[in-house]
Subunit: 548 residues, 2 copies
């Protein structure tokens, strides 16, 4: 691997940790816990891992004698900056307890456990990956660990490698599955602990005990860097509206954090769209109004942030897509036989009046996409819809109407962007480098304490790292029952943007000013070596949430 | 303006300069110069500014007494990182000669001179913009200064503001026009000097005396940051081919530099495509072959870099577009009357056999775009063609054919990206911050020396800044005669990628290894505060060109 100068310099960085973790630790156990909802059902499903106490690790003078043990680690799902540091933290933590302990990585995600693909992670390998982005140390994958067969197959290799604890680094679903696995291994006395680590750039795995999922900080900073650069370009050229879509399908945390960092003229928050029952036309009208207001001041330029998952949060679009899926499932052959030029009319004719009207209002490309690109289950692939182009085009059409009607006299030209892959594998910011390493090190402490079904928890992270609090949270505590594929399942509650939360309220209180004014902020690229006020800041979301 | 923490910290940066510029300077004049070609014609057109010597500024013990004078400055064309530092350098240079001198900025580009829109740039304003990206201090624009009327109109306001020298910061065309203006003002004894500064992220304004245009370094570093992040994602997820288009229409310097920095699996260099007379199908076949070769090793992922201007460098596409433009110019009504579904066949029927075959091979979207999106002159708007999607789709089709024929058995899925606006207004790297400030400071020295028709030149920039060489180059020296809009015009020779130059040769010598292996390099974001090997490096292109 040829290393860049930055990688070489950055390899020497020593991640900061909670003070307690530097020496021997003692576990403080809290009171018994409850799941966030559906207590009876969750308790019944997790007889061995329900109700466990919250753990806190505090300094201890006592030097424990810890036997050598082998630990397995899995990276699950989409990449997030800092995954390598979680693994380095686990490695250093386990080795600090007993230098003969070993860490094995399962390859290409949970599938590696089932298929018995693994690699021992030696100190030589770990040192190559400290403070780097990516999940390439062992790869990741999207196989879901859900069935007894998978669990048993996994246990075979765990036994063979004498692995006593498995750390699964993943998002809400992966951690839910980690807990199911923990429960199963506990029930059959398999002698394997399972511990989770909260990962996802989307930021939707968080709660009272998990302040943030790792990677969110770095990814948002990369996106904010390029958004800021585009804003500065926008404000220099003064001739384009930039429509910028940001990754994050199930929640708008990324869009919101980037808006807080860069103060664009407009930012859509999907959760608000849903709560207000807004239509696509409502959103288009709002943006067009912002464009017209700026044009009235001579400013024919601006920036709009769009969360990737928007379409699925628009109640009317959701209804249209549902009807389309249902109709085409039963009339696919008939639809295929219709002449290309007549397909659109055919669809309009066959939909209910409400959905037909919405379908008719869509630009041709999107309308076509809604009938063509279907997944193996016959559903529209919403992620393929270029929402940023859709909105730019519809706003342009709306403004053209207004111009004809004499209500608008500006110029409108647009550029579109989509940022996602640019941020998922960036080298972790100091925050994520520290947070991830601490999460991994804490996971090793949970393992040493003999616990299973816990998620590694590091809190108070808006304070300097030595004041961070390391502990463990029973995963069952975060669960409720939700309908998935027609069945009620125990799952970790997904954290959406709260419209009564401090980050959204701050945004809502400022957005009108940002819309009319040009109050862009240019955060610039992540800095690893500079002054602390530049290099060591958590997200604005977190600062507002924790009231800092 | 709300400032980010980085902006605040970065404001304190003191750009480094050639040692000679810190005190009083003396001008060393070289021998008379010649234009690079067409000497007689160029000489005839520039009787007052042809043949002037190259200037070099060296340290001097003598403290010159320089009268207060007013200087005007114009930002011309697309944004490039460091423009604000050029202006800061001019300001500090002029003020160091006489603190009562003033700098005026003309607003929104050359149009500001003609329309008499200007602003005095005070030290308070300058200080707000030091080391920042963007051209927003006075804005930029694309008005071309070409006519006597414009020159005379400009002179009115220059006289009114008592401006004795004008600095035009722009690309090859803007500097050509600056020289025409210098010649005109010299011819009519207007008493206004004109000096140019070499700007463009595209990197195509360079020659023996101008090592690089400013902004190229920073823009390439921003693009390389996100390309590196995508590569790391690509190598972690191992399931996508990423097709990444990079800004730069008339030359492939950006794509080449980014390839040198990130070592992707494939990078197209337009100049090579033209030299080899490659067809679109040749390029698609080459990429598909790289995909198939990697698939044979189990690697169904990769990255491809594409220069924005590619289409116009493919001789066969150029011919097709020319015939299409010509045909549609004469048959637009007839074409409009053809039913939508039959338009493609109509075009195919009416083109020459060679072009019809190429047209037929194009994916539907691009084929349609070639007949629809036309500029006011009736020409295809090549910049609207999404080459990255076109290539991804055609490579996919080619691989599907090969799969049917049993020649390929991998999986192919693609993601597309286009980076341009993300890099044009980034905060300048240390290199660009220093280089731009030095260019501006040098421009003030050229002004103090009473010269006109010169471009500010700072050389030896792969060495530490104190060893840089400041001077001035007669713009006429870079000129030759070229046909523009049917007329022979004196213009600065555009610097394309040289296929016998060191940067391309290094790329060519390594690309096969990079194609099969996964030798990605992850440069990470621009660092402003870290170790010098991370923060103070010029482009790889420049190091190779200068043999460093």
């Amino acid at each position: 691997m040829t290393k860049s100068a930055l990688q070489v310099a950055r390899a020497a960085y020593k991640p900061k940790m909670p003070k307690a973790l530097y020496g021997s630790v003692r576990v403080e156990e809290g009171a018994a816990t409850q799941s966030v909802a559906d207590q009876d059902e969750v308790k019944k499903l997790f007889p061995n891992t329900y109700g466990m106490p919250i753990l806190k690790f505090v300094e201890s003078a006592e030097k424990a004698n810890f036997p050598a043990m082998n630990v397995g680690v899995i990276l699950s799902g989409g990449q997030a900056p800092g995954g390598h540091n979680v693994i380095a933290g686990i490695f250093d933590g386990i080795k600090s307890l007993n230098k003969d302990s070993k860490v094995y990585g399962f390859l290409m995600g949970p599938g590696g456990l089932v298929d018995h693909k693994y690699q021992e992670l030696t100190s030589e390998i770990i040192d190559e990956y400290r403070n780097t982005g990516g999940f390439d140390i062992i790869g990741s994958g999207r196989t879901k660990l859900e069935t007894k067969e998978q669990f048993d197959k996994g246990l075979e290799i765990l036994k063979k490698l004498d692995i006593k604890a498995l750390v699964i680094i993943g998002g809400d679903d992966s951690n839910t599955n980690a807990c199911v696995l923990a429960e199963y291994y506990a029930a059959i006395n398999a002698g394997v602990q399972v511990v989770g680590c909260p990962k996802t750039i989307d930021g939707d795995l968080k709660n009272e005990m998990i302040e943030t999922s790792f990677g969110f900080d770095t990814a948002c900073k990369v996106y904010s860097e390029v958004i800021g650069n585009i804003e500065r370009d926008c404000n220099s050229a003064r001739k384009y509206w930039h429509f910028i879509k940001l990754m994050g399908r199930s929640a708008s945390h990324i869009a919101l954090e980037c808006a807080l960092q860069t103060q664009p003229n407009f930012c859509i928050i999907s959760e608000e769209v849903e709560a207000k029952n807004q239509s696509l036309d409502d959103i288009v009208t709002e943006i067009a109004t912002a464009v017209a207001n700026r044009a009235a001041n001579g400013n024919n330029f601006g920036t709009v942030l769009i969360p990737e998952g928007l379409i699925e949060f628009i109640p009317a679009m959701k209804a249209l897509i549902a009807e389309l899926n249902d109709f085409l499932a039963h009339h696919q052959d008939e639809f295929n036989a219709v002449a290309k030029d007549e397909k659109r009319q055919y669809i309009i004719k066959n939909l209910s009046a409400v959905n037909a009207a919405i379908y008719e209002s869509l630009p041709e490309g999107v309308a076509r996409q809604l009938t063509l690109d279907r997944d193996p289950h016959g559903n529209v692939q919403v992620s393929l819809i270029e929402t940023e182009k859709l909105l730019a085009e519809m706003v342009g059409n709306k403004l053209a109407e207004w111009k004809k009607a004499g209500k608008y006299s500006g110029k409108f030209a647009s550029q579109v962007h989509f940022f996602g892959y640019e941020g998922r594998c960036a080298a972790p910011s100091n925050y994520d480098a520290d947070y991830c390493y601490s999460l991994g090190y804490t996971a090793s402490a949970i393992i040493a304490a003999g616990k299973t079904g816990y998620m590694s928890s590091v809190r108070n992270t808006t304070a300097p790292a030595d004041q961070w609090i390391a502990g463990g949270v029973p995963v069952t505590m975060m669960m409720n029952m939700e309908r998935r594929h027609g069945e009620m399942k125990p799952v970790i509650q997904k954290a959406l943007v709260k419209l009564d939360g401090a980050p959204f309220k701050f945004f809502a209180a400022n957005r009108e000013k940002w819309a009319v004014g040009t109050e862009y902020v240019y955060p610039g690229p992540i800095q690893y070596f500079g002054p602390t006020e530049v290099c060591d800041q958590p997200t604005i979301t977190l600062k507002l949430e924790l009231g800092k």
